[in-house]
């Protein structure tokens, strides 16, 4: 009996301590989320909003620009994330070798792009990939190409530039996660494998990869979320959504709907919930795949 009031007091004290954080969270996180959900049910231009029910969802199905933005975003996702995770994995395994010369230099050099400002490096990439920029000059000097590639004027090449930019920036970030996880693998397992005569490639597939499974899942999910929200690079590298809207992503389309065109805030909120839905679905799928492999 003496315990109950004490426990209640401890509970209450606990709530008091967490209440400032909870209040701030509710105000700046939960309230905007609920408010934007309400906003996605509104139709109208500018500040003249009125309730529209599911009109915005219907508009999604009829909007060619939205479909195009969705396809672009999914293209970036499907092409860029696997390339980046694979690259990060291979780099991490290579740089984990304690006998490699200049290990810490390479690790730092590959991680450094992650600390650059998104806008600063986008502007730099824009000038590098201009029709008469350094990349074209470089490739022409090496005689890899005979005439300059219209990087930012061609729908296909503009996508390539964006993929290159994102990969350059985020590979190091994911590599660090893999490196950290690799430290946790007991080197004696590898020794035993080597003694047993298992070749390097099999060691990688059968020992390293399964041990890294949770980290691979984590980096894939976070990279998926990041790429689905892609904005800074596509806003700053090509002009206005790229040639023929080839680099228009969902986030960029939301930005245009709110700040470039006659504002349609309700519809923009609906498009942002499409991103939420995609993130939920893809994350769920990825967890599902990871779990299946564990039990099998």
């Amino acid at each position: 009996m003496a315990q109950a009031p004490n426990k209640r007091k401890t509970d209450l004290t606990g709530w008091w301590f967490t209440s400032p954080a909870l209040i701030l969270l509710s105000l700046f996180l939960f309230y905007p989320i609920v408010s934007s959900l309400w906003m996605s049910l509104q139709i109208g231009k500018g500040m003249n909003l009125s309730f529209g029910g599911f009109a915005n969802i219907y508009r999604l199905t009829q909007d060619p620009v939205f479909i195009h933005a969705l396809l672009n975003t999914l293209t970036f996702l499907v092409v860029q994330v696997p390339i980046m995770i694979t690259l990060a994995l291979l780099l991490a395994v290579t740089l984990n070798d304690s006998k490699l010369w200049g290990r810490s230099f390479f690790r730092t050099a590959i991680f450094l792009p992650c600390v650059t400002s998104l806008v600063a490096y986008s502007v730099l990439f824009k000038s590098m990939f201009a029709a008469d920029g350094v990349i074209n000059s470089f490739l022409q000097t090496l005689h890899v190409i005979s005439s300059p590639i219209p990087w930012l004027a061609d729908p296909f090449w503009a996508k390539i530039v964006i993929i290159l930019a994102i990969t350059w920036r985020w590979t190091g970030y994911n590599m660090i996660f893999f490196l950290a996880a690799l430290q946790n693998i007991d080197p004696s397992i590898y020794e035993a494998a080597r003694i047993d005569g298992i070749p390097a490639w099999a060691r990688f597939w059968k020992i390293t990869l399964p041990a890294l499974k949770p980290v691979i899942l984590f980096t894939t999910v976070t990279s998926t979320i990041g790429t689905l929200q892609l904005f800074d690079e596509v806003n700053n590298i090509p002009t206005l959504g790229g040639p023929a809207d080839s680099t228009l992503t969902l986030s960029l389309y939301i930005y245009y709907l709110s700040f470039r065109f006659m504002p349609s805030f309700g519809y923009a909120a609906t498009v942002s919930y499409v991103i939420v839905a995609l993130v939920v679905v893809l994350s769920f799928l990825q967890f599902l795949i990871a779990r299946e492999k564990q039990t099998s």
């Binding site: 500018g46 500040m47 620009v65 824009k126 729908p155 002009t239 809207d245 006659m262």
Partner: protein
């Protein structure tokens, strides 16, 4: 004394406080903040106006903040949408294509200058006043007209065998011929185009007396024979190869100011950027814009851009800002002569047209009476209603441009543009 604050130290602190107060009072005065783009043009004209106004009102200083145009528009729209007025300027420059969009979306954010009765709108060009009017209130101080011309390197074209007289009455098809000849003889392409920016199409449309929208604001794309002719002409230019594709404003202006390309078909406000390269004096000339062939009533005159100054209702220095606009921009005809010569700013203040500078010839452009030419063309510009969805229409066209470049069907492009525009307008 036990008390940490001795009488002496309190007196000392009080004296210091009062002297600080005095110091700030000495620096007191009004600062009017202006947001605009294009430092050489809009920024420079504003600074000139500020300097003139300061002679009679020394306590008013102007703070002109320079932005890239799309950045400023998006920043303004973002802040107006948020409803916070902290950090908004006193005066802002808004391009005429977007004027109605801002005025109708954020009506309470702008000060209706017609209410102050400080500005006589009859002294300004009618089409500029109309586009900044909602209901019976006018919100702007009309600024520059974007009357267009073809700025070209007379030395390159002379090399290819073209004189000024050859370029006075040409169609776009003839321009393509000229472009091919110039490239063959000089190795320089005629134009540079940013394919995400539909400025050239807008020039063609207005010269043919049409716009994306009909006078009542409805889309005029599908089933519009004139628009089809204009778009087909645009497609011909896109497929001709007489231009260099560029990306972004800096690359666009850098290409013709550096002499890499031979011409730029753009608004008179580009004069400031071109004249900034003083070593090219005498090598430039200006011809009328080519005419769209096949549209009745098409002329050699058009408009690209053009903007006006607006006062924000939340401004703390509203009175000073409005007085400044009314005194300098609304009455000072001599000021308009100065900005015409220095920046190529063709204002909409009608009385300024009688000034000397408008009649003078310019050595930079080979001694032609450039401003007379522009004034003449200004009078011929067909008036169109820009509506509120020009950005959406531009985006719809941009989406179809690569297909047109590759030789795609104009009819398909029209259908797609119309569908996308109608979708965005709901």
């Amino acid at each position: 004394m036990k008390n940490a604050f001795s009488r002496r130290s309190v007196l000392g602190a009080a004296l210091a406080g009062i002297s600080f107060l005095g110091a700030t009072a000495a620096f007191a005065g009004t600062t009017v903040t202006v947001w605009c783009w294009d430092k050489e043009f809009n920024g420079a004209t504003m600074k000139e106006a500020g300097a003139r106004y300061a002679k009679a009102h020394p306590d008013v200083t102007l703070n002109v903040v320079d932005f890239a145009k799309p950045d400023m528009e998006q920043k303004l729209q973002a802040q107006l949408a948020s409803g916070t007025t902290d950090g908004l300027p006193d005066i802002v420059l808004i391009e005429d294509y977007g004027a109605q969009k801002y005025l109708q979306s954020f009506t309470k954010a702008f000060e209706p200058l017609s209410d102050t009765k400080a500005i006589d709108y009859k002294t300004f060009a009618n089409y500029k006043v109309a586009l900044a009017t909602v209901g019976d209130k006018t919100y702007s101080l009309p600024f520059d007209s974007g009357v267009s011309g073809m700025f070209y390197r007379s030395d390159y074209l002379a090399q290819a065998g073209y004189k000024s007289a050859d370029l006075q009455d040409i169609t776009w098809e003839k321009l393509i011929e000229v472009g091919k000849a110039v490239e063959a003889k000089t190795g320089h392409k005629l134009l540079d185009l940013d394919l995400s920016d539909q400025g050239l199409l807008r020039i063609m449309m207005q010269s043919a007396g049409i716009w994306y929208f009909s006078p009542d604001g409805k889309p005029a794309i599908a089933g519009n024979a004139k628009f089809k002719t204009v778009l087909s002409t645009y497609a011909k230019v896109l497929q001709s190869g007489i231009y260099k594709p560029v990306s972004g404003w800096a690359e666009y202006t850098g290409t013709f100011t550096s002499g890499e390309t031979a011409a730029a078909i753009t608004g008179v406000w580009m004069t400031a950027t071109i004249k900034a390269n003083k070593d090219q004096s005498g090598k430039w000339s200006i011809a009328p814009v080519p005419k769209v062939d096949g549209v009745e009533g098409a002329v050699h005159a058009s408009n690209l851009g053009g903007s006006s100054w607006y006062v924000l209702a939340s401004s703390k220095n509203k009175a000073a800002a409005i007085d400044f606009l009314a005194q300098e921009w609304g009455k000072d005809a001599d000021f308009y002569q100065k900005i015409l010569v220095n920046q190529g700013a063709l204002g909409s203040f009608l009385a300024a047209r009688d000034g000397e500078a408008y009649k003078a010839s310019d050595a930079f452009f080979g001694g032609e009476a450039t401003w007379q030419n522009f004034s003449t063309w200004l009078g011929k510009i067909p008036g169109v209603n820009y509506g509120t969805f020009t950005n959406e229409a531009d985006a719809a066209v941009s989406a179809q441009v690569p297909a047109l470049v590759k030789g795609g069907s104009v009819d398909d492009a029209i259908k797609a543009i119309d569908a996308q525009l109608k979708q965005q307008m709901q």
